[in-house]
């Protein structure tokens, strides 16, 4: 390895490309402390006014509450629906498990713009449009495939020996699941919960089709704000969002190891 050093020009190119990749996220931090009325960089004065403006923006705050509640409900439901499904497909080996698995993960293959439109048209006639229930179903369509994937891999990697030992010692099937399988799946369950939460909290396109004037999520509110005016308000929200994501990722990293969770 020693004699295969990356040359200096190549290193500079890589550094510049990394800067390009990270520039938009990094730029948001200084802009959030801008004292200007409009979006500009570098700002001529600095202040906390846009954080204060955010705290006083009832629309953004209620969108944030909706997003948080929605993401929590979707996370709990993703686990409640995903764990039994993964168990049936991986452990019980239902007839045609590969087909079921492919069908249940298929929504990931479709663009969200097509899925969003398709769900909008159905929900419009069933009265689910602009309702919390409608948003939950819409989000589950995209979080469940991720949940099933991660849970199925985590379940498939478990040694059968422990479960077999428990049942040969007389434990009933449900007891085996509750006392042996689920505890052993804990890392997979945590990873699924984090993934479902982040996917739901960040979802924009499908939500944009399904949200109503009175019920909207934070990313959709941000989208409409950016669309209509250019001020540093979005920067202060973005900073808080990035910090929230960072906190979640750090917690996961400490408990499970980030690379093990997100990069296989």
């Amino acid at each position: 390895m020693e004699n295969h050093q990356t040359s200096l020009p190549m290193k500079i190119v890589v550094a510049v490309l990394f800067l390009f990749l990270l520039a938009p996220v990094l730029l948001v931090f200084p802009i959030s402390f801008s004292g200007e009325q409009i979006l500009s960089f570098p700002p001529e004065s600095w202040s906390f006014r846009w954080y204060a403006a955010l705290a006083n923006n009832s629309q953004m705050m209620s969108a944030f509450t909706t997003s948080l509640g929605l993401a929590l409900v979707v996370t709990v439901l993703s686990l409640a629906i995903g764990i039994p499904a993964a168990y049936a497909i991986v452990r019980l080996k239902v007839a045609g498990s590969q087909i079921w698995y492919n069908l249940f993960t298929a929504p990931l293959l479709l663009p969200t713009i097509v899925l969003g439109l398709a769900i909008l048209i159905i929900f419009a006639s069933t009265g689910l449009l602009g309702t919390f229930t409608g948003l939950v179903i819409g989000h589950l369509v995209v979080t469940l495939p991720y949940a099933l994937r991660v849970l199925a891999v985590s379940l498939g990697n478990l040694e059968l020996a422990c479960e077999e030992a428990a049942s040969s010692l007389g434990a009933k099937p449900l007891t085996v699941v509750r006392r042996v399988t689920l505890p052993m799946m804990a890392p997979g369950i945590v990873a699924t919960a984090v993934l479902a939460f982040l996917v739901s909290f960040d979802e924009v396109v499908i939500t944009m089709f399904l949200a109503g004037p009175r019920l909207t999520t934070l990313p959709v509110a941000l989208f409409h704000h950016v669309e209509s005016q250019a001020d540093p308000l979005v920067a202060s929200v973005s900073v808080l969002l990035v910090l929230l994501t960072l906190a979640i990722v750090l917690v996961v990293d400490r408990t499970l190891g980030l690379t093990r969770t997100f990069v296989k």
């Binding site: 190549m10 049936a88 369509v141």
Partner: protein, 293 residues
């Protein structure tokens, strides 16, 4: 995808106690049916229904949506424009991602993990936030235009046109391309490159004759992924195009939400899926050619 699933489906255990399994699968099947199968079938059906004025949908089956779409100069331009813009973005993304992926492939230890986290971290940031960052960078009051003006270079318009959309989407798709490239770089062994240069090949020849062919599968996978994501991207073109860049995804949204012509929006959606299918066919052709050498 199928390669990954085979591993955990293999250790076949006891045959399913039928009723229990059905009960366990029922909730996910319900969500899948209500939120995926029914809507998608309905959407496909809508593309052959007539649109009535005022947002209504006719009872009769018709090919009018399709013939209207393919006979209208505006839509032909829209489709061609979408394809050209997506291909441009794909190629640019490949160009700016390849050096990073190659560098990451050769890096080791904690440095590699750190850089990998840096590559993944934008994926965990909302597309709206990243697009907003690009608007701040490229707008007339942003650092790029200011710096160019200070240097006396007449700054071109970077926002609310195709240029802005291309720059923004290229950056937004970079993590996907880098991860796909790295996944396909498995066969690239530094010792092979060393052997080539020891035998007298110049750096560029090593790259063209050794590195490039060995990394071709990763390139094909990354390009497929980015093209498909670019064709269906909506947030960035909508925000950075400023209503002046017309692409398939933004037109689907406008037809569905603004014009309320659902049959036309459905037809455009099916067209996007057809483009996806075509891209997949091209990809598998390319992979077969690569395997044959």
């Amino acid at each position: 995808m199928t390669a990954g699933t085979a591993t955990f489906l293999e250790p076949a255990k006891r045959r399913g106690t039928g009723n229990v399994a059905v009960a366990l699968l029922l909730p996910i099947a319900l969500v899948n049916a209500v939120g995926f199968i029914w809507p998608i079938l309905n959407l496909a059906g809508l593309s052959i229904r007539e649109a009535l004025p005022g947002g209504g949908i006719g009872e009769n089956f018709t090919a009018a949506n399709w013939s209207g779409l393919l006979g209208d100069g505006f839509y032909i331009d829209l489709i061609v424009n979408s394809l050209v813009v997506s291909l441009t973005i794909t190629l640019l993304t490949l160009l700016v991602s390849y050096p990073i992926a190659l560098y990451l492939h050769r890096a080791t230890g904690a440095w590699k993990s750190f850089l990998t986290v840096l590559v993944i971290s934008p994926l965990l940031t909302s597309a709206v936030v990243r697009t907003y960052g690009w608007i701040a960078l490229l707008s007339d009051t942003g650092p790029v235009v200011k710096a160019m003006t200070a240097l006396g270079i007449p700054a071109p318009r970077l926002m609310f046109n195709t240029t802005g959309v291309v720059i923004g989407l290229t950056e937004i798709l970079m993590p996907y391309m880098i991860l796909a490239l790295m996944a396909g770089f498995g066969r690239l062994d530094p010792r092979v490159e060393e052997a080539a240069s020891t035998l007298g090949a110049r750096p560029f020849a090593v790259f063209r004759r050794v590195v490039l062919p060995l990394t071709a599968p990763g390139i094909a996978l990354g390009c497929l992924l980015c093209f498909v994501l670019a064709v269906s991207s909506f947030i960035t073109p909508k925000l950075m195009g400023g209503g002046r860049v017309f692409l398939l995804a933004t037109e689907i949204y406008d037809q569905a939400i603004v014009t309320l012509n659902w049959p036309l929006a459905a037809t455009l959606s099916v067209l996007v899926l057809v483009i996806f299918g075509a891209a997949l066919v091209l990809y598998s052709r390319a992979m077969r050619l690569l395997e044959q050498g």
